[in-house]
C-alpha cells in the first residue's frame, strides 16, 4: 500500500528571504519601501528642524490675506483687495488659457509645416527646414524674450494713433487696433442681456457664468441636433428612393436663423475699441505678454510637432497610398481614410509629450510679465509673504495635476484612435 503523505513541510529559515525566489522579491520590496519611507522621514524631519531654527511655521493662513497687488489680465473679476488664493486662481486660469491656445496653434502650425517640409517646392521645403532647425536649436526662453521684443519694437504705440495725421491707423475697417501694448479687438456686448449667475458666493473661487452664453450654446446645440435629424431623414430618403432631397438650405437656415433671432433678442452688438486717454478702451485687449508667450510657445512647439508629423507621414509605406489608389480613392480621401489614421498612431504619443512640454514651458511667462500661476502664486505672492515652502509645493502640485490630466485625456484619445485602426 502506498500512503499519500504530504511532502515534508519545509522549515522556514531566515536566509530564505534572500535566497528563495519566492520570498526574495517581497524582501527587496519591503527594503525598498522602508528605505523610501526613511528618506521621506529624514527630509521631513530636517525640514521641521530647519523651520524651527528659522522660527517659522507652515500654514496656508496667508491665502486668506489680501493680495494687495493687481493683475492685468484677469478672466474673472479681481482687485488688489482680493485674497492671495484668488490671485493664484486667476493665475491658474491664465496658465490654462495660454496652454490651450498654444496647443491649438502649435498643432495647426506644426501639421502645416510638417506637410510643407515634404512639399515638392524646393524653396518652401527649405524655408520650413530652416524654420524647424532655428526654433528647435535655440532655447525657448530666448524665443519668448525675442517675441516680446519684436512686438514691442515693431508695432506702433497707442500714441501713434493720435492726432490729425496719425502714423498708424486701425485695421479691418477701423475695428482692430494693433499696438505694442497688445491687440484690441471688438468685444461681444448684449444690450438686453440676461445677466450672470454668480457661483460660489463671495469665496475666493467665485466666478460668474454668463446666461447669454448659456442661452446661445443651448440654441446652437438645438440647431445642430435638428440639422442631424434632417440629415438622417435625407439619408433615409436616399436609401429608400435613390434620390437625395436638397437640404443644404434647410441646414443653413437651421444653423443660423435661431441663433440670429436669439442674438437679436438679446440686443447683440460689437463693442469697438477706441482711443481714450492713454489707451484704447472698449473691445477685448489681447495683451502683448499673452501674444508673445502664445506665439513663442506655439512656434517653438510647432517645430517639434512638424518633425513628428513628417516622420509620421514618412512612416506610412508607399504601398498604402498605392493600394488606396487601386481601390479608386481620391487623394483627399486617401489622406483622410488611409494615411492619417495610421500616421496618427505614430504621431499621437510624442504629441502628448509636446503638449505637456508646452504647458510646462508656459511657466516661463514671468520672462515677459504674463501673470500665470508662476507669476502670481510662485511670484509676487511668494515674494510678499515669504512662504516659499508652501508656495513652491503648491505650485508643483498644480502643474502636476495639469500634466496628469493632459496625459489622461490624450491617452484616452490615443486608445480610441488605436481601436479605430484595428
Amino acid at each position: 500500500m502506498t500512503t499519500l503523505t504530504d511532502p515534508p513541510k519545509e522549515q522556514f529559515r531566515l536566509s530564505m528571504l534572500l535566497y528563495d525566489t519566492r520570498y526574495r522579491s517581497a524582501t527587496i520590496q519591503v527594503i525598498a519601501m522602508i528605505a523610501f519611507m526613511l528618506l521621506a522621514a529624514w527630509i521631513i524631519n530636517n525640514t521641521i528642524q530647519n523651520l524651527e531654527t528659522l522660527g517659522r511655521t507652515v500654514g496656508f493662513d496667508f491665502f486668506a490675506e489680501p493680495a494687495s497687488y493687481d493683475i492685468n489680465q484677469r478672466l474673472l473679476e479681481y482687485d488688489s483687495r482680493d485674497t492671495h488664493l484668488r490671485a493664484a486662481f486667476i493665475g491658474l486660469l491664465n496658465t490654462l488659457v495660454v496652454a490651450v491656445l498654444g496647443c491649438i496653434t502649435a498643432t495647426i502650425i506644426g501639421v502645416m509645416v510638417g506637410v510643407l517640409r515634404l512639399s515638392n517646392n524646393w524653396l518652401i521645403a527649405r524655408i520650413m527646414t530652416v524654420y524647424v532647425e532655428m526654433f528647435r536649436n535655440v532655447p525657448v526662453l530666448l524665443w519668448i524674450v525675442f517675441a516680446m521684443a519684436i512686438l514691442i519694437e515693431s508695432l506702433p504705440a497707442p500714441r501713434a494713433f493720435r492726432g490729425e495725421n496719425p502714423e498708424a491707423t486701425m485695421d479691418l475697417f477701423g475695428t482692430v487696433a494693433v499696438t505694442n501694448r497688445g491687440v484690441y479687438i471688438p468685444e461681444f456686448l448684449f444690450s438686453r442681456g440676461l445677466g450672470d449667475i454668480h457661483l460660489f458666493g463671495t469665496s475666493s473661487l467665485r466666478f460668474d457664468v454668463s446666461l447669454d452664453l448659456i442661452a446661445f450654446l443651448i440654441v446652437l446645440g438645438g440647431s445642430i441636433f435638428a440639422m442631424r435629424k434632417v440629415s438622417a431623414w435625407a439619408n433615409k430618403t436616399q436609401e429608400q428612393t435613390g434620390d437625395r432631397p436638397t437640404i443644404w438650405h434647410i441646414q443653413l437656415g437651421l444653423l443660423f436663423v435661431p441663433s440670429a433671432i436669439l442674438l437679436g433678442a438679446l440686443g447683440f452688438h460689437l463693442g469697438y475699441p477706441e482711443l481714450k486717454g492713454f489707451n484704447f478702451t472698449g473691445g477685448t485687449h489681447l495683451r502683448n505678454s499673452l501674444i508673445a508667450l502664445w506665439l513663442a510657445l506655439s512656434l517653438y512647439t510647432a517645430a517639434f510637432i512638424a518633425e513628428i508629423v513628417r516622420a509620421g507621414i514618412l512612416a506610412i509605406s508607399k504601398g498604402q497610398t498605392e493600394a488606396a489608389s487601386a481601390l479608386g480613392l481620391r487623394p483627399g480621401r486617401t489622406m483622410r481614410l488611409v494615411i492619417l489614421p495610421q500616421a496618427l498612431r505614430v504621431i499621437i504619443p510624442p504629441m502628448i509629450s509636446n503638449y505637456l512640454n508646452l504647458t510646462k514651458n508656459s511657466s516661463l511667462a514671468i520672462a515677459v510679465g504674463y501673470m500665470d500661476i508662476t507669476g502670481t502664486l510662485g511670484g509676487i505672492t511668494m515674494n510678499q509673504t515669504g512662504r516659499e515652502l508652501e508656495c513652491v509645493l503648491l505650485l508643483m502640485l498644480v502643474y502636476l495635476t495639469i500634466s496628469l490630466s493632459i496625459s489622461a485625456v490624450m491617452n484616452w484619445y490615443n486608445n480610441r484612435v488605436k481601436l479605430v485602426e484595428r
Binding site: 520590496q29 532655447p139 526662453l141 516661463l364 508662476t374 515652502l389 496628469l404
Partner: protein
Amino acid sequence: MSDVSFVRTEMLPEQAPPASEVGVLGWIRHNLFSSWLNAILTVVSLIFIYYVLSNILSWTFESVWNANSLSECREIMMATWGDTHGHACWGVIKDRWLQLLYGFYPPYPAHPDATWSNPPETGGWPAYFRPNLTFILLLVAIAPVLFTNVPRKLLFVTAAYPFLLPWLMWGGSIWGPLMVAAGLGIGYLAYKFVLPVAGSLTAIILAVALPVLWWLFASGSVADAINSVIPIGIAPVESRDFGGFMLAILLGVVAIGVSLPIGILLALGRQSDLMIVKYLCVGFIEFIRGVPLITLLFVASLLLNLFLPPGTNFDIILRVMIMMTLFSAAYMAEVIRGGLAALPRGQYEGADSLGLNYWQAQRLIIMPQALKISIPGIVSTFIGIFKDTTLVSIIGLFDVIGLTNGIRADTAWNGVYWELFAFIGVLFFVVCFSMSRYSMYLERKLQTGHR
C-alpha cells in the same frame, strides 16, 4: 520578297532634351514653378526672404565694433550713417565676450589678480586653460562612445573623466578626486576577494557598504593627510565664479553624465516585476516629468537647504546641479525604457536560456544593445537639458542670459538689447544644431544596422 524593311536598323542620335527641362532652368521649373500654386508660393517666399535678409544683414554688418559704451556707439553711428537705428553695436560683445563665455571664472586661477588682458608676469598657462582643457577632454572622453572608428584606448580617458572634470574645474588637491576613485577600487576589491569566501550576497553588500563608509568617514581625512605630505594641487575656484556659456555646458554635462546611471536604474525599476519598486520609480518619473523645470529650480534655490540636515549649506550651483540631474534622470529613464522596449523579446529569452541571472543578462546582453539604440535619444535629451539651463537665470545665476542683466546694469551698456541676445542665440544654435545633426547621422547608422 522586297528588301524594304520597315524596321529602323540604326538609331537616330539622341536629341538634347528641351532647354526648359534640364540644367538650371529645368531644375527651377520642376522645383519652384511646377504649378501655379507653387509659383505663387515661390514668389511670396522670395519676397519674404529678401525682406528678412535685407533687414538683418544691414543691421549685422553696418555696425560698430570699436566702442566702449553704448553712447560711444551711438556717436559713431551718428557720424557714419546719420542714424542710430538699424545698426548693431557689437562693441558690447567685443567688450564682454569672455564674460559671456566663461562667466567670472578667473582666467589665471593661480594668479587671482591677473586678468585676460593683463596676464601674469611669471608666464604660465594660457588664459582659461582649465575650462578649455576640460572641454577638450570632454570631447576626447565621449569620442569612443559616440564614434566607432576611434581607438578604444581612449576609453581610459572616459573612465578618468568623471574625476578629471571636478578637479580641473574646481581645482584644489588632486587627492580628493583620487580618494573618491579609490572608493570604487575598494568596492571592487571587496567584491573580488569576498566572493569566493562568503558568497555573492555578502560580497555585494560589502562592495556597496565599504566604499560608502570610506567616502563618508575616511576619504576626506586620508586625502588631507596625503596632501599634507605630498601636496599636489591647483588653485581652487569657487563654483559661484562659474558662469556664462561654460555654466550651461557644465550643467548639461554633469546632469546628463550623472543621470545616466540613475536613469538606467529607474528604467529597469519601471520595467520590473516588483510592484513597490515599480511604483516608486513610476511615481518619481511622472512627478519630475509633470512639473516644469523652473519649479525644480525654485526648490534648488529656496527649499533644498530646508530639506537637508541643519547646517548643511552648499552653494547654489551645486544645488542646481542636483536638481537638474534629478530632472534629466527622469527623462533619461524614459529614453532608456524606449531602448529596452525596442529590443526584440528573443534577446531576453536568449539570455534566460543561457542561464544568466537578471543582472548578468542586463550587463552582458540587454544594456549594451539598449543603450546603443538609445544614444540618439540621449543626445536629444542632452540638447533639451542644455537649452533648459538658460532657466537658471531666473533664479539669479549668471549664465549667459543672467549675464545680459548684469551687463545691462553697467551704465556703459544700459540699453543694449539685440546684440547680446543675437550672440547668445547664435551660440546656442551652433552647439545644438551640430549635436542634432550628429544624432540624426547616428540614427541613420543605427537603422541600417538593425533593419
